[in-house]
């Protein structure tokens, strides 16, 4: 279990707020760049919430991540990481950078309330304050698709780099990996 997770809740309302919030919780160690944890270390050193960089990016993309305290009846962090890796095994070359219990809202993912395309697209989020374990990864070769060229050769000529960043959300009650984003 992540026994040392902060017992503080905070709404990540903006990039600046996210940075201040997380830095205040974890002092200078979080404010500076750190190498990624190995998987094994991440499962032992549990006081490692998702990074300020990830929170800043999420906030800028319509994704709200609100840290919450642990409670009884939830799957533990180790099981959540195991499920994330089972569902996204192509991440195996990367690092787990953080694991954190949170409420997740993605304002871009959900039911479209306006089918008339001349009107603004309103979305009813599919994940609205969903209670999840957020697992953050870095340093892997990301999944990059590609169009087909008409001669059957991939048009993606840029070599894949081990610069992948990803957040995975595992339902804290059911243990199902319900969401992920690479950016």
């Amino acid at each position: 279990m992540i026994s040392l997770l902060p017992k503080v809740m905070g709404i990540v309302g903006s990039a600046a707020a996210a940075f201040v919030f997380m830095s205040a919780l974890h002092g200078s160690s979080q404010a500076s760049a750190e190498p990624g944890l190995s998987r094994e270390v991440a499962l032992v050193v549990s006081d490692k919430p998702i990074s300020d960089d990830a929170l800043r990016w999420a906030s800028s993309d319509g994704i709200t991540i609100k840290a919450v305290a642990e409670r009884a009846g939830l799957i533990d962090a180790k099981d959540a990481v195991a499920r994330a890796e089972t569902d996204f095994a192509f991440l195996d070359d990367g690092d787990v950078r953080g694991v954190q219990l949170a409420e997740l809202t993605d304002d871009n993912y959900g039911e479209q309330l306006e089918q008339d395309q001349t009107k603004p697209s309103r979305i009813k989020p599919k994940l609205d304050r969903a209670l999840v374990w957020m697992v953050e990864y870095s340093g892997f070769v990301p999944f990059v698709s590609s169009p087909m060229s008409h001669d059957g050769i991939s048009t993606r000529l840029i070599e894949p780099q081990a610069n992948g960043r990803m957040l995975v959300a595992v339902d804290a009650v059911t243990g199902e990996a319900v969401w992920g984003v690479q950016y």
């Binding site: 095994a89 479209q112 603004p120 999944f143 990059v144 590609s146 008409h150 610069n163 992920g180």
Partner: protein, 262 residues
């Protein structure tokens, strides 16, 4: 597709890449030569295309190594793509797509490891200015077990490309591609793997069908693509077939032959 017996045999052969198998499904070996390998079809690129969609059947492909630990992925998607408005390099191509895929998982017939997904190229890719940062954003949603419509279209109200499944939005581009993408958009429909030892979904006896191969107009109306061209395949074990569809327009069938045949 592959069951427990296949998984055991695959483990026994270890890192041997080319494995013969008497059944119709492939038995993938180790994952090598990571790139993008397709079996699919494409349409003409025109200024009248503002989106694409397809109904895509669900099938369970096998990944190289073992599904539980694979570094690979196998996806099927609908896409719109265009060259850059300012660069002639194929590396500057833009695209937006939606589909489903298997991204490493438990072997067998379970559905964990399957997700609907969307991916689009960031604005910086059109000018080759992403540097060491990512050039795409990918969103993974819930699991998938049946056929769905996967769509990608420029919405008239905001000029951005919305990607979704059955009307549920997966993601939306954070920019209007006009001015960054060339104005001629092309529809593409395909299965794709990251390693040639992984299977594109479908076998010869249970192909993966994509039908309702359709396009969006600037106002959002939907019509069939009348012509879809089958693209050449990189390996002979990957297959695609384009035929007339009973629902209208054309249909695309994709499948994979056993690994030993490539």
């Amino acid at each position: 597709m592959r069951g427990v017996l296949g998984a055991c045999l695959s483990a026994l052969v270890g890192a041997v890449a080319a494995v013969s198998w008497s059944a119709d499904a492939a038995v993938p070996g180790s994952c090598t030569n990571r790139s993008n390998y397709h079996a699919g079809g494409y349409t003409a690129a025109t200024t009248a295309v503002f989106g694409s969609r397809a109904r895509i059947e669900f099938n369970n492909p096998d990944l190289c190594e073992a599904d539980a630990t694979s570094h690979s992925a196998s996806v099927v998607w609908s896409m719109i793509t265009a060259g850059s408005a300012t660069s002639s390099s194929p590396s500057a191509d833009g695209w937006a797509q939606a589909g489903y895929g298997q991204f490493g998982s438990q072997s067998g017939f379970g559905t964990s490891g399957f997700h609907v997904f969307s991916q689009y190229t960031l604005k910086c890719k059109s000018t080759l200015t992403c540097g060491s940062g990512s050039s795409v954003k990918t969103e993974f949603g819930g699991t998938v077990t049946v056929s769905h419509f996967y769509e990608n279209y420029v919405r008239a109200s905001d000029g951005r490309i919305h990607m979704g499944v059955d009307g549920t939005q997966l993601d939306v581009t954070n920019y209007n591609p006009s001015g960054d993408w060339a104005p001629e958009y092309e529809g593409q429909f395909a299965g794709e793997v990251l390693h040639p030892q992984s299977d594109i979904a479908g076998t010869s006896s249970d192909v993966t069908t994509l039908d309702y191969l359709q396009k969006y107009s600037s106002s959002g109306s939907i019509a069939f693509f009348q012509v879809v061209h089958p693209a050449p395949v990189p390996y002979t074990r990957f297959h695609r077939s384009v035929t007339d569809a009973s629902v209208g327009g054309q249909r695309l069938d994709i499948w994979t032959s056993p690994l030993g045949s490539f």
